[in-house]
């Protein structure tokens, strides 16, 4: 697949601030989204995902306009910082909901779940409950779900913020591997320079509500790093 994302003069204003996004990206890979706190990174993610509607402008994913489309209808998987799993459902069901929101799965889809769990290193975790898992394991389940959804885009909203150094590295590696396997475009909010240097292919920087930089990682390292 060749994922393509376009933000065409997308504007939104709230709490007295204005955000304007102009963006065109094409092709799979990991895109790090960085910038000072409150600059507008999460806002952009929420716009792409459909949690908020822009005041003006168009959002296109793979050439299709997203206006009027609910979050569930958009070709992406969103990974939150927390609460990626339903606490009252087991791991298997949690992933299954990523395939069919009504839990109507074909046998092939069901076996995919186990495969996905194995790929993220959680083989055999089907029946476990989220409380029994560590923070890192829960995020991996979220990734497993992303795998079975086969969407061209994945948005990571600081999913590793609460994890320690080593775990972050391991997660970062997992993201790289998943991207390699699926060819999707991963947009990842990150403040960690080392992490960006290690795994990102491209970097977007957002300042004061607009995109101030959009280029390769190496370019970012030399000019901004």
């Amino acid at each position: 697949m060749t994922p393509e994302i376009k933000l065409d003069n997308v504007t939104i204003g709230y709490e007295g601030r204005r955000f304007v996004y102009d963006l065109a990206l094409s092709g799979g890979g990991i895109v790090a989204v960085t910038g000072p706190s409150g600059a507008g990174k999460s806002t952009m993610f929420h716009l792409i995902a459909g949690f908020v509607s822009p005041d003006s402008g168009g959002i296109l994913l793979d050439g299709n306009g997203m206006s009027g489309k609910s979050p569930g209808e958009r070709p992406l998987t969103y990974i939150f910082q927390d609460h990626n799993l339903f606490a009252h459902l087991d791991i298997k069901t949690n992933i299954a909901l990523g395939i069919s929101p009504r839990l109507k799965l074909t046998p092939e889809q069901r076996s995919e779940i186990s495969e996905a769990l194995a790929k993220v290193g959680l083989a055999g975790f089907e029946k476990r409950m989220p409380q029994a898992l560590s923070g890192g394991e829960r995020q991996r389940v979220a990734f497993a779900r992303a795998l079975v959804r086969h969407r061209p885009f994945m948005l990571l909203d600081e999913p590793f913020a609460s994890l320690d150094e080593d775990l972050r590295r391991a997660m970062g590696d997992l993201v790289v591997e998943l991207q390699r396997e699926t060819g999707m475009m991963v947009l990842m909010i990150s403040h960690d320079r080392q992490e960006i240097a290690r795994i990102a292919g491209r970097v977007i920087e957002i300042r004061d509500g607009r995109i101030s930089f959009s280029d390769s990682r190496d370019m970012w390292l030399t000019t901004r790093g």
Binding site: G72, E73, T77, L85, L97
Partner: protein, 533 residues
């Protein structure tokens, strides 16, 4: 909150229907009351003033006494995070929540009444005067019985939210007992005291059964009882209306004042861990706390024990053989379960609808919080209005029970909302975005995501509403008849006559059933209380 358009429309629609029906029910009652302002007279002004003043007077005194006696209890328990029997004390603090009023009054009479335990002991010790439970003293006693544990619970929660570092700091600075109170405990309490006082005040102003049974005449009548008497005794709709409006005005003012203060129950998931309380160790402290706890245990435990002992010693077989008992039981259960179900469904619809509305439409959102506002609508006023409606349009035989169900439902709404709303808010906060991002919506969402989590609070709300209805006397006092009897109305009748054996058995049975119904709420409350214990 983020959700699919269809889903939003459904819930707002459902909530809207519920709201319309509920508001219509209330407005019809008041319209009827206003329309009935015929030629009849105003109550004599002195009487109206007396009632108004007494309503406030007994509520103020009840509130002050409850707070005053709850304070030492809360302080004692707070500084001992574990001692043998702490759980039991906490349960006893929650127990009056699940006790229906009439059986409790019976228990109180057994202990404090003229021929009760205390007077018998007094006579045995040679005392000549007997204390009388009728009138203001009885009302205060009963109100304190119910509200002291409530006040103590809420104060305890506030004290347990004090960060453990503060205790350590105080200890390292060598604070004596009074400074501990002045600088650590009191600041924590003062934040919640107005809210607690307001809540208890509101409960006492709208109290009906206690005033009816222990009041003892027009000089000890409150507005609720006066409304009932204006209708049932004098058959004077205009008088009932004037009294209802007076009551409504009073509760509206209190309600508005209440909202100015922080809710004593919010932020239950407060800090904590065990406080470092070296002041709890000295023998004097042990004795003092032990005494406080002992007095509390006896004060709350004795009437409860009296109900059990008197009940078991009464003629239970005779009761079981009486067809009236079974009729009353069947009626009570049917009404309670219906009222509980309606209250739960209605509350959920409206709470859920409010969550679906965008944050900007604050006035409309406020409308959907109607269940909380039911606290300010006097049940007797509601009943009076509908009583007159029935009279005007023909008193169909089945109408009485239906109205009791609806009025009980109305009474239960604020409590159901208190149980459901916070749980739903937390649940939606956790799962709304995730559900939206995965495209889970509609009935599938309710089935897979919402119901499994909300099932427990909904059941708790249901059973609490059912218990409230089961033990209620107010509505059935208006609509009851020879054919339409409930356990409380039967109990009230037997309390009145000299057949107190029946009263004992009925009290026990009513009390047990109510308590079983409130068990889920008791557990919930206990969990919220004992989170750190």
């Amino acid at each position: 909150m983020i959700e699919a358009i269809g889903e939003r429309r459904f819930w707002v629609g459902a909530g809207g229907v519920g709201l319309t029906l509920l508001a219509g029910f209330c407005l019809a009652a008041f319209a009827m009351l206003l329309a009935s302002a015929a030629a009849s007279s105003w109550p004599p002004f002195a009487y109206l003033m007396r009632i108004f003043v007494f309503t406030i007077e007994q509520a103020v005194l009840s509130t002050l006494l409850s707070l005053l006696f709850a304070l030492p209890l809360a302080l004692a328990i707070a500084r001992r995070p574990d001692f043998p029997g702490r759980r039991f004390v906490l349960v006893l603090m929650i127990l009056p929540l699940g006790l229906p009023v009439l059986p409790a009054v019976f228990g109180l009479l057994e202990i404090w009444g003229r021929t009760g335990l205390v007077n018998d002991i007094g006579a045995g010790l040679g005392s000549t005067s007997r204390l009388s439970i009728y009138g203001l003293s009885g009302i205060l006693l009963a109100h304190v019985f119910f509200n002291l544990p409530l006040a103590a619970r809420l104060m305890l929660k506030a004290l347990e939210r004090v960060p453990s570092d503060e205790w350590r700091l105080a200890a390292s600075l060598g604070f004596p007992r009074f400074s501990l109170f002045r600088f650590v405990e009191w600041p924590a309490l003062i934040r919640v005291l107005p809210g607690i006082a307001g809540l208890i005040f509101m409960l006492c102003v709208t109290s009906f059964t206690i005033i009816l049974t222990l009041g003892g005449g027009p000089q000890n009548s409150t507005l609720e009882v006066a409304i009932y008497q204006a209708l049932k005794f004098e058959f004077d709709p205009a008088r009932a209306m004037i009294l209802s409006l007076a009551q409504l005005a009073l509760t509206a003012v209190i309600f508005w004042l209440l909202r100015l203060f922080p809710d004593p129950e919010e932020d239950r998931r407060g800090a904590s861990g065990r406080p470092f309380r070296p002041d709890a160790r000295p023998v004097r402290a042990l004795l003092l706390d032990g005494l406080t706890l002992g007095v509390f245990l006896i004060f709350v435990g004795a009437p409860v024990l009296a109900i059990v002992i008197a009940g078991l010693g009464s003629n239970l077989e005779g009761l079981a053989a009486d067809p009236k008992f079974w009729q009353a039981l069947r009626t009570s259960l049917t009404i309670a379960l219906s009222a509980g179900l309606l209250a739960t469904v209605l509350t959920y619809a409206m709470v859920r609808a409010e969550a679906s509305l965008p944050a900007r439409s604050a006035p409309i959102r406020l409308l959907f919080r109607f269940p909380e506002f039911m606290l300010l609508i006097p049940p007797l006023a509601l009943g009076s209005g509908w009583f007159l409606v029935l009279l005007r349009f023909g008193m169909a035989d089945g109408a009485g029970p239906i109205l009791v169900v609806l009025i009980n439902m109305g009474m239960a709404l604020p409590f159901a909302a208190r149980i459901i709303a916070p749980e739903l808010a937390t649940h939606l906060k956790r799962t709304a975005r995730l559900s939206a991002s995965l495209g889970i919506s509609g009935f599938a969402r309710f089935r897979i995501v919402d119901w499994p989590v909300m099932r427990a609070p909904l059941l708790t709300a249901f059973s609490f509403a059912a218990a409230l209805s089961f033990g209620d006397l107010g509505a059935v006092a208006l609509f009851g008849s020879d054919n339409f009897i409930t356990l409380p109305s039967l109990l009230y009748a037997s309390l009145g006559s000299y057949r107190s054996m029946d009263a004992a058995g009925l009290s026990l049975i009513t009390g047990v059933i109510c308590f079983l119904l409130t068990l889920p709420s008791v557990r919930l409350e206990s969990a919220r209380l004992g989170e750190d214990a």
